[in-house]
């Protein structure tokens, strides 16, 4: 559950959970978060919560609303954002949901169109939320407002081996290719991308893939397959080791790892 931490002059005043779909902030007492200070407008700002996301909107306040030092009218709140209203600060905390139950959370679920419509109404959007007149009739269907189609609470199967963390290749060494023969002899090519293709399209092409656990070479096209250390490849990906010699389309090149 996302929350706001209200503070002034680095003094924490209050912690507010964003339980409502619309949380208002202002000087007047009817606001969900009342800040009784003349720098704050009667109805200063509002936060619309849509499931796990929150949107901050300035309601035309006299002194404005800032997020991380920038004045905003509308803002999609991210964990750690600091909202400033006059001398007051509201820190938005939305601890990464995925940690709760990653696999379960990321399962695809259906959201009912009438719910989407309701959210759209609440977010004060003039623009309609896409086309919501689906075949799902709202007349003989009245699920509770926060109803998502049932995803039984089956515990996700634990992964047999922990998946590698996203976008953090375990390859600490950088691979590179140095051309040994032909017109490009001496040229060096760093393998920074996940895919690097070598050779001449239509004649002979191979591709080197950078994967979390190392570099691999695979034949892509051409009647002749490339060879590594004098051994012809088959259709499978072949792992590359430091100082392997690749021969492709009559050109020799050396694969090596840089630290």
């Amino acid at each position: 559950m996302a929350k706001l931490i209200l503070s002034m002059d680095n003094l924490m005043l209050k912690e507010i959970s964003l339980t409502k779909e619309r949380t208002t902030i202002g000087r007047k007492p009817q606001n969900d978060i009342q800040i009784d200070n003349l720098a704050i407008s009667g109805e200063h700002a509002a936060i619309v919560t849509i499931l796990n996301d929150a949107f901050l909107e300035d309601l035309g306040s006299t002194n404005g609303t800032q997020v991380n030092g920038q004045p905003i009218k509308k803002h999609f709140l991210q964990n750690g954002d600091v909202i400033e209203l006059g001398k007051y600060r509201l820190k938005y905390v939305n601890e990464a949901q995925p940690q709760v139950s990653q696999a379960d959370f990321e399962r695809t679920m259906i959201i009912r169109p009438d719910m989407a419509q309701k959210l759209a109404d609440q977010s004060n959007e003039k623009a309609p939320m896409g086309d919501t007149q689906t075949g799902m009739s709202t007349n003989h269907f009245s699920p509770p407002p926060s109803h998502l189609a049932t995803e039984p609470a089956t515990p996700p199967a634990p992964s047999p081996q922990a998946p590698p963390s996203v976008l953090q290749p375990a390859v600490s060494l950088r691979g590179a290719i140095q051309v040994l023969t032909g017109v490009n002899a001496g040229k060096e090519l760093e393998l920074t991308k996940t895919l690097t293709s070598l050779g001449k399209p239509g004649v002979q092409v191979a591709v080197i893939t950078r994967r979390p656990h190392g570099y691999f070479i695979t034949h892509v096209e051409g009647a002749v397959f490339p060879s590594v250390n004098g051994k012809l490849l088959d259709a499978q990906a072949h792992p590359l080791g430091d100082h392997d010699i690749i021969e492709l389309a009559g050109t020799k090149m050396e694969f090596f790892l840089k630290s």
Binding site: T108, E125, G135, L148, P156
Partner: protein, 276 residues
């Protein structure tokens, strides 16, 4: 008309690195120019049931219909017959999944996304429901053809979120339409002209949630000479990035033009198909 000379097709479906089940299903019939991909949802194995039912039903029913009808002809509404055909068959598949979900407690709440195309007469009719996608590589240009039926997409279209902000949203994987969750479903159906050299990529969100569009496009382009390898590489990329969901891809390359046989030749072809 047999399209397997004009269309090169490959598919891969992989459970990914985290899930024990594969709830995705793919179906290919290159001769009839049919490609179908579904991403099921629901507890226990209900997701697999839903996606499996939809791909199997659509595959067999459309297979029958396409050998008897000419999808390229126009119907009384001025639309290609393929449109009405897809609409009808998707409705029937929806009904079947919905009925199963209603009558069997273990299937309650199951549903599936769907993205499919039928190729005919140098064009294709695409139908989709939910957040499974179709992309096209034409020359250098790699674009997304379908627009997700998802909360995020609606928020992007209404201006609440930019595409960049949407990447940081915590509301991923919420679809606004799915097959089998209600008595009626509204597929989005459009026709597109195809060109020789085009490569079409159908995928479940297990690919595009784990791999950026630019990287997907670059991979398809770089490995376009070898579709088998391209499909394997796409699945591998998703898994190397964590593989948090099932990953399925279908690749279809248009090798040459495939105009529908018209006049006497077309009539003879239909007659032959009818007697088969």
């Amino acid at each position: 008309m047999d399209l397997s000379q004009a269309l090169e097709t490959v598919s891969r479906s992989d459970p990914g690195m985290v899930r024990s089940h594969n709830e995705d299903a793919v179906y290919l019939n290159p001769a009839l120019g049919l490609a179908i991909l579904a991403d099921g949802m629901g507890g226990y194995n209900a997701g697999e049931v839903a996606s499996g039912m939809v791909t199997t039903l659509l595959g067999s029913e459309l297979g029958k219909a396409l050998t008897l009808q000419e999808p390229y002809l126009f119907d009384s509404n001025g639309q290609r017959r393929a449109n009405g055909l897809l609409e009808r068959e998707i409705e029937r598949a929806n009904h079947a999944v919905y009925q199963a979900a209603q009558s069997q407690p273990q299937y309650a709440g199951m549903g599936t996304t769907l993205v499919m195309a039928v190729f005919y007469d140098n064009s294709m009719t695409v139908a989709h429901i939910g957040d499974s996608r179709l992309y096209r590589l034409r020359g250098e240009e790699f674009i997304q053809i379908t627009r997700d039926h998802s909360l995020l997409q609606e928020q992007i279209e209404s201006g609440m979120l930019t595409v960049e902000e949407a990447r940081h949203s915590q509301n991923k994987n919420l679809v606004t339409r799915a097959v089998g969750v209600d008595p009626l479903v509204e597929p989005e159906i459009h026709d597109y002209a195809t060109q020789p050299g085009d490569i079409y990529l159908f995928c479940s969100d297990g690919l595009n949630d784990m791999v950026e569009d630019e990287e997907i496009g670059a991979t398809v382009q770089m490995l376009s000479a070898n579709l088998e390898l391209a499909a394997t590489q796409l699945v591998q990329l998703a898994n190397d990035n964590g593989g948090r969901d099932n990953v399925s891809v279908i690749l279809v390359r248009v090798r040459q033009s495939y105009p529908a046989p018209r006049g006497v030749i077309g009539w003879l072809a239909r007659l032959r198909a009818w007697f088969k």
